[in-house]
Symmetry: C2
Subunit: 220 residues, 2 copies
DNA sequence: CGGACAGGCGAACGATCGTTCGGTCGGGCG
DNA sequence: CGCCCGACCGAACGATCGTTCGCCTGTCCG
């Protein structure tokens, strides 16, 4: 990284737990994973140095290694959290009961909720390039999840529950792409999660268009 | 990059123009930008070394510098190509004539076509993190483009051409996200571009659902 | 009171990064 | 023919990377 760093938002270092002499900060591993995931997303994994991470945690680089195995271990922990959240959806009863469309719609809505709840970790998962063994492992698991959704789209299409499409496989990709694109702009607090779920569901299954293109909604 | 490199697809180096002593390879700048964009997308910009790039071009690292100013200059050239393609859409006559919905729909369809035509360059644009001045410049231009689309969605919504939605701004984000997600999976040759355009348009504006939720499409 | 120990630090390690430099080679032109 | 110049290369530069090491300090427990 020869490039100039971004403005380095104010108080980034102070974001760590209050460094009071009295109370041991006692960095628990999961909170460091959270910090790491946030910085990874800001700069990108490869462009993030251990110096960046330790500074965000409020300690020096060498101190940071007392709590953490290494850079890749942090990445793996964050990715596991994201994948556990996503695969947890498939284990819910509503994911395997009812018509394919009912199940698909439930999974999509829950996927949005998990994305919002685990935003930094899922964001990390969706930006992997597969440069290390850890990344390739996570990408493989993610492909499994996408395949489950693609299977459901195919079944719903075969059951006539979806609009006649050119290719259910393409529809599945578009559906996953639509949901996953949330991580590029959604930030917690701006929009309630349930409103976001409703909006995504509506766009995916009903589209943006007003119902009656020629005549008005309530004719006469 | 401590991580092990991905399998390094066969014949990556041989992808360069035939290194015949007789005919000077005469690397023109634009073809090197193309090669660089491809490798940047495979490994990620920060994880890509100049060694990677020069090897993909079929020459050594030091030779590579005879044709190229540096790593960031390659990035900028690729991003300019992507941005020129996208902003070119807004200059087309059909982008500013007709109802907001008509214009929006034309732009979306053209955006898919540009994405397909300039896939590596647009992919690069959509993955920027803003670590260097060049990246921040490109991100700012990209935000301009997205804002133009958001404006059109708002106008179409105000004109009653879109389904009553909760928030046109959210719809605009979802629409852009749906279109941009193409770069994550689409590869040329698998699906004709016009079929892809039709599928994206249909999903965005009409949704996945079969027209009549309760009764069948052709009753009786 | 003292020893153990976890938390934190500065300095340094080998590796790799982007970039530069000096030099070789060979075909085209005067 | 002889010169020139663009293409190309090996070697090395300083910087930064992830990681390790030795040491200091304060706290808690016996």
């Amino acid at each position: 990284m020869t490039g100039t760093r971004p403005p380095a938002r104010e108080g980034e270092r102070a974001a760590a737990p209050a460094r009071d002499r009295r109370t041991r900060p006692t960095y628990d591993p999961s909170s460091l994973v959270e910090v790491a995931a946030r910085v990874f997303n800001e700069r990108g994994y490869d462009a993030t140095s251990m110096e960046d991470l330790s500074a965000a945690a409020g300690i020096t680089k060498s101190s940071f290694y007392h709590h953490v195995r290494g850079k890749e271990a942090l990445l793996r922990a964050a990715l596991e959290r994201a994948l556990d959240g996503l695969f947890g959806i498939l284990d819910e009863p509503a994911a395997s009961t009812g018509s394919p469309l009912t199940r698909l719609r439930h999974i999509v809505r829950r996927q949005v909720e998990v994305l919002v709840a685990e935003l930094p970790h899922v964001t990390l998962l969706l930006r992997l390039r597969g440069n290390t063994e850890t990344e390739r492992w996570a990408l493989a698991r993610r492909r499994e999840f996408d395949a489950a959704i693609a299977r459901l789209v195919r079944d719903a299409s075969a059951a006539g529950e979806l609009r006649d499409g050119l290719d259910p496989a393409v529809d599945a990709r578009l559906l996953s792409g639509l949901v996953n694109s949330l991580v590029e702009w959604y930030r917690p607090g701006r929009i309630p999660a349930d409103a976001l779920v409703a909006e995504v569901d509506r766009m995916a299954f009903e589209g943006l268009l007003a119902p009656a293109p020629a005549s008005r909604r309530r004719p006469f």
